[in-house]
Symmetry: D3
């Protein structure tokens, strides 16, 4: 018996789509959609690395997350106009960067930087997990681009795939991939970042106004495994298509 507002089963993802080559300037550019949540994830390659890393011979990967002002139901204030990046934005940017650095051998890039930008065009819950999942696809495209440009010392610097999903307890039920309507009233909210090798990269679970027993944590992790398995399939399917655009020639 289904009880979710959108008719999904508790362990069912929203429709997932990836549009590669959504814009054409960056080496990777993917519009990822988890239902109504839509995030533009780009991977730009720039020469050089941050000052603290210069001379190391190693590359770097950094990430920035942001919301367009009209992405949310009520328009939110533009952070550039406010003159500072908010705490939530900072936190998610750091999470995306850490998560994607887990799958890449930065030594293979030489002293080049990949900048991942995840800009939420429309928010309906799960923006950070959609961002991570879409950023992986953009990163894979950027790696293909770097390889074609002859900038990789190792032809395959990605050691695994990365995907993330939100899980939570809503109305006392453990559920996968929460939309805003569920997320905003969830008792427990958890984001899980995993690899296609079955290992965990990051687990962040929070009781919202409530606390939760460890048994709940286990159920949430089970559900996240189901969800990310489907996401890896979707990533693989879309990455089986050729690079969307023109590749550089060495």
């Amino acid at each position: 018996m289904t009880t979710r507002a959108d008719g999904r089963a508790d362990d069912e993802l929203r429709p997932i789509t990836f549009t590669r080559g959504f814009t054409s300037h960056p080496a990777g550019s993917v519009l990822v959609e988890f239902g109504q949540t839509r995030v533009l994830c780009t991977a730009s390659v720039t020469e050089g690395v941050p000052p603290w890393r210069r001379g190391s011979g190693l590359g770097w990967l950094t990430a920035e997350y942001a919301m367009l002002p009209a992405a949310t139901h009520e328009r939110s204030r533009r952070e550039s106009v406010a003159g500072r990046v908010g705490g939530r934005t900072h936190e998610i940017s750091r999470l995306i960067g850490r998560s994607l650095r887990a799958c890449i051998d930065l030594a293979a890039l030489g002293e080049n930087t990949i900048a991942l930008d995840c800009d939420v065009l429309q928010a309906d819950g799960g923006t950070r997990t959609a961002a991570i999942t879409g950023a992986y696809v953009a990163l894979a495209d950027a790696v293909t681009w770097l390889g074609a440009a002859g900038k990789l010392s190792d032809p395959q610097p990605l050691s695994c795939m990365i995907a993330a999903v939100s899980v939570g307890v809503v109305d006392g039920r453990v559920r996968l991939d929460l939309p805003y309507e569920e997320d905003s009233r969830a008792e427990v909210d958890m984001n899980v970042v995993t690899t296609d090798a079955g290992t965990l990269v990051e687990v962040q679970g929070t009781g919202e106004g409530a606390t939760f027993p460890r048994a709940t944590l286990e159920k949430l992790l089970d559900l996240a495994e189901i969800g990310t398995a489907t996401l890896f399939e979707a990533q693989r399917a879309v990455l089986d298509e050729p690079y969307p655009g023109e590749l550089p020639t060495e």
Copy 2:
């Protein structure tokens, strides 16, 4: 004989498209494309007006323009991270706000604010004129929304249509709707904002490293008239379709 890199005649616009209802939260949401230049223009309605306008009974219209970091060929720094909005951004935001305020009777809104957000997803020259042209369509949708919500004291507060186009002198030739490749080496660069009544709202012409005789100004204005005539047709065509989404009921 055509000499433009993209095969256009000197007085020809790039392909223009408007996608209404591109996102669903704001009252108006339009993706406008001038060739490869793509700008998401949203019009959000919020209750209340800025402090200096409170108690006037009048509404307000404000605009903010921004570029996604990967919208340009070389990734640019995110202004929220830099902690300040740059001069160019400020200038264009002000231009968009002034231009659209020229067509609306703010008294009809009561003390409500329409916030126009123009976020450049991909930049290929003419982002500010595309933004104004797209913002008009988003504004028209927001006005429809306000009417359905019973928030308008005058059922048709828009007195005219607004469109804008760039013109310039490139390779010694007067040309319409410059892409980045032409814009970056133009000798004269001009942005013209007009109404469908044939009047001017704003004219901004600049010699770039060169100065220009008044005769050139005249030719540029002639060309801008040709361009905006086509843009008004395109706006009318797309606005003939019904409101893309659900309207509020009073």
Copy 3:
């Protein structure tokens, strides 16, 4: 066989001390020490609540975390001088606030705010978990103060105790309460916030350069349970002593 540099067993906490009444202005003021990590946790009561909460009749609890410049081995730049709070600081401040809000009935405070300030005087790993654990004791004192001042509608607004500990994988071994020397080279790093009722408030686990199987997550959670059990005992012991200072009279 012990292999830790400081001679501890893998499942052993560093020496834990709480000094209540460390300073005398705020309603709660606790110096917490986890070995060489020393954090001053204060709980200040102020009248009123943030604007978005006014008129609700509910109180609020907020938290700010910071490091003194000389708290770390290499002096770090003062964030007030830099003109912005860093991402890590933001993230930890938010974590502390969420964690402590999990144990308090904010309705009982009326429209008053408790501000928790956690300033790290000396850092040697685990500053955020020490801060949460110490902040609970400061909060308990502030609640006592509020009760004496006749400002509580419910005499016992704390529903449970809160403590936090770090766990991680170092040199391939699962360990409790990592000092800097271990933390800086941990393969997996996890912070666990729990209640004395045995439930979880927050779990944040991160692979650092590595990913980890779910079995490791389980072992880390087991260890965190052992650690927080000891922390709750220490909190109870110190809170059995009378309020350190003069209480207001109603």
Copy 4:
């Protein structure tokens, strides 16, 4: 029949004065007055150029515009105290820089920078056009100074003179050089920057609450030509006097 509050004809400028050597530290220092509008324009020479221009062998010219807090009728907030430069300030600073770069051969300066500072001591409309017109005189003095110091590879790097004037439609009449009283209620407001060779550098026309036909634009440009012709005469007259101060010896 005169209808202007200050008794001027529609095509008449306010009294214009330039005081060269108003202060003595910068290489050029000119107090320009357009009636009650008074702007201190200085041109400072500094060694080196911005990072993005280093190694080019070319010089640079930059400009900053600001208002003293008490320059306006109502005291305005100091931008340094606000912590950010406002949009209007940014826009005018950029306009001044562009306008003056149109007359100078930056290659002749070597890697040196001329910084133009235009500080409004008293505002009565037309501050930006007064600033540009005064800045040209300060720039001419700085060029003389640079020549005396032996820092110019080309003895005359200025290819033309630059002056600017505001024109507008007030009470339905096309008028030259608007004071605040007219500017604040103008239907159309235009700033025109020209060279003494009769060419245009920048044209910025805006309908304020109204739009305007192209015929009005033509009349405004005619009037601006009349105004700048007088300004060039005044600049020439004052620059015929010797350099006000001591010149460096090579």
Copy 5:
């Protein structure tokens, strides 16, 4: 025997001039000159007081000090562009405010604020003492203006006059009113703010790289008394002239 570069005796001031009504918008506007040091001091009257003083029935007086970028020998960076007010600027602004609040009965103003702005047009040492001395004259004019406007509950709210002067030890000699050339190499530097009743408002003495015996302090204070006596005469002389401009009628 005179040893000072500008020919003055050790106990001699530079030529002092006050130009009242230097600009016309603010209630008081005085250009003060101490030799080559020139500071524009304005006193603007605004309705209302800062939030923390509302409802007190008392007025307020505040001060802001700033330097134009080209006021110094080497152009200095504009603080609005830097995005923050420097420590020295802050310190002097606070000093000016404190000094002038010493002579005025703020109760007589009702809930109105006098904002003193001291903008250095040209700096040659002693800018803060010139600013205080000039600000007193601007303040006296603003008080006259307030009286004419019928906004004073006490017709004479100024209880004394305020003047300030710098003194120092240069080349082992105790000297009055140091220009930049002396100030920059002074062994001891002192700023003294006094009333015409012979009392002190503020004394700030600093050894610069050296320390100084109390006997030197005494000599410096003697010299400051001589200097301020002359400044009070000059202030009185200029204030004997009528108010420079039109006074409001009640």
Copy 6:
């Protein structure tokens, strides 16, 4: 007859204590207490000097002062969160730096910097003078550390001792070392920084709402001499103990 709230004679200091080695990372770390005022003063050694001093062969000494939010009776806002350092903080930081630079031969350090951080844990008046007095002890320890590390070209770069005390007029009586209760209602407030050679480094006296005759200044200086004599004894006594911690070996 004693009239002070805390039972002290007018010329009596509060109990003074110094705790060396209060924290262990910085080369000098001293908790100084003047009664209830408690300031943590650290001296951190870092390689290199600010850009404007590079290549000079000289070292540098800088200071930063700050208050913890809960140090004052009413919690104050954190300056890092406000995004800017306040005027008072700036002013005191500069005073501490100047005062301590008076006793050290910076040439002896080579191009190394000593950063003094004075963080007020609890404020009860006189925080800046306590900070200076404690910072001297921390500096002396840092110098010992530098000597042991073989980084001093002159084994004793400190030419004198530095101590500071506040004096003031309260209830018409001249008093030493004012606590907050006296400081907040003092008619005259003065901070005096001296050397143990009997000379002055800095004198800052301010009338608070009142002005004061020179005779009062003399009495205040007499009292400050008495106070600093006792402080020098206390500094000497504590510095007679060995360095609190492990010294580097060259």
